[in-house]
């Protein structure tokens, strides 16, 4: 594929950034929600 570097690069950057952000959010949520009583968490 021509210009593969740029094209595949754009996919890697896109989904890489989303993955990093998602991982940080989930890590923070796991760490925090254990210390919060259940009634403060409407989704449980």
């Amino acid at each position: 594929m021509e210009d593969a570097g740029f094209i595949i690069g754009s996919y890697v950057i896109t989904f890489g950034a989303i993955a990093v952000y998602a991982w940080r959010v989930l890590r923070r949520s796991r760490r925090i929600t254990t210390r919060v009583p259940d009634e403060a968490k409407p989704w449980t």
Partner: protein, 253 residues
């Protein structure tokens, strides 16, 4: 949300796992079709594949900022100032800035291949860059501290001001760009005519990104709820500790 299995920790419920799985499948399809199955474009050849990521992320970023504005408005003008709206505004803005960053990077890569230059001062890209910076400022305002209500009120006002600003910037940028009538031959502005498999791939992209957006915002909003709850939970403990202070304090003069 009647979640059958109480989550051990974290903000996942059956619903978010479902959306997360669907998002993952969507992304897999998008990569498969975007890089593999869909044909190259007649004029742009392979670089059109970047659009399957660039266009959906732009649309979702704009959607995110609309959600932030609506949530901010609801927080300010609804009788019951429920902080859930404020947290939704914050979560959506954060995801919006992430998607807007992706839009700008992919837009530059695409521009480099199509126009031979990383940045092209065209009206849409300029407004996008402006929005990116504005909402980084919004996130900075959210971190200014003060009580939850203060944070919510201040951020809501800044979000609504940002919305007020978008038409103004867009209008002045379009007027500004119209001065540059240099006829650039291959400047399809990303509105390349797509049909058949290419259009389908773009559609998959939009669905995948929407699922990603919803999944990220739900988790982020719940984490913000937990963070606020942590502050409040801390409050009861702190009040008890404070009261104990009174008991133990030596009888001051």
């Amino acid at each position: 949300m009647a979640a059958t299995d109480a989550s051990p920790g974290g903000t996942a419920t059956r619903g978010t796992r479902l959306i997360g799985a669907a998002a993952f499948v969507g992304v897999a399809w998008l990569v498969a079709f975007g890089l593999g199955f869909s044909p190259a474009d007649r004029d742009q050849r392979e670089s059109v594949r970047i659009l399957y990521v660039h266009v959906p992320s732009a649309w979702l970023a704009y959607l995110a900022f609309v959600v932030t504005a609506v949530a901010s408005g609801l927080y300010l003008f609804r009788r019951r100032h429920s902080l859930a709206w404020d947290r939704l505004a914050g979560a959506s803005a954060e995801v919006g800035v992430l998607f807007m960053g992706i839009t700008l990077v992919s837009g530059m890569l695409w521009g480099r291949l199509t126009w031979g230059v990383f940045w092209e001062w065209d009206a849409r890209l300029t407004t996008t860059a402006f929005l990116f910076v504005t909402y980084i400022g919004y996130l900075a305002v959210r971190r200014l501290g003060g009580s939850h209500e203060q944070r919510a009120r201040r951020s809501a006002v800044v979000a609504l001001l940002a919305v007020l600003e978008i038409p103004l910037v867009h209008w002045s940028v379009v007027l500004w760009r119209s001065l540059h009538q240099e006829a650039s031959v291959i400047r399809p502005d990303g509105d390349v005519k797509m049909d058949g498999l290419m259009l389908f791939t773009l559609f998959v992209g939009i669905v995948a990104f929407t699922l990603l957006y919803v999944w990220l915002v739900i988790h982020r909003q719940r984490t913000l709820t937990a963070e606020d709850a942590l502050d409040d939970a801390g409050l009861d403990a702190a009040i008890a500790a404070r009261r104990a202070e009174a008991v133990t304090a030596p009888e001051a003069v």
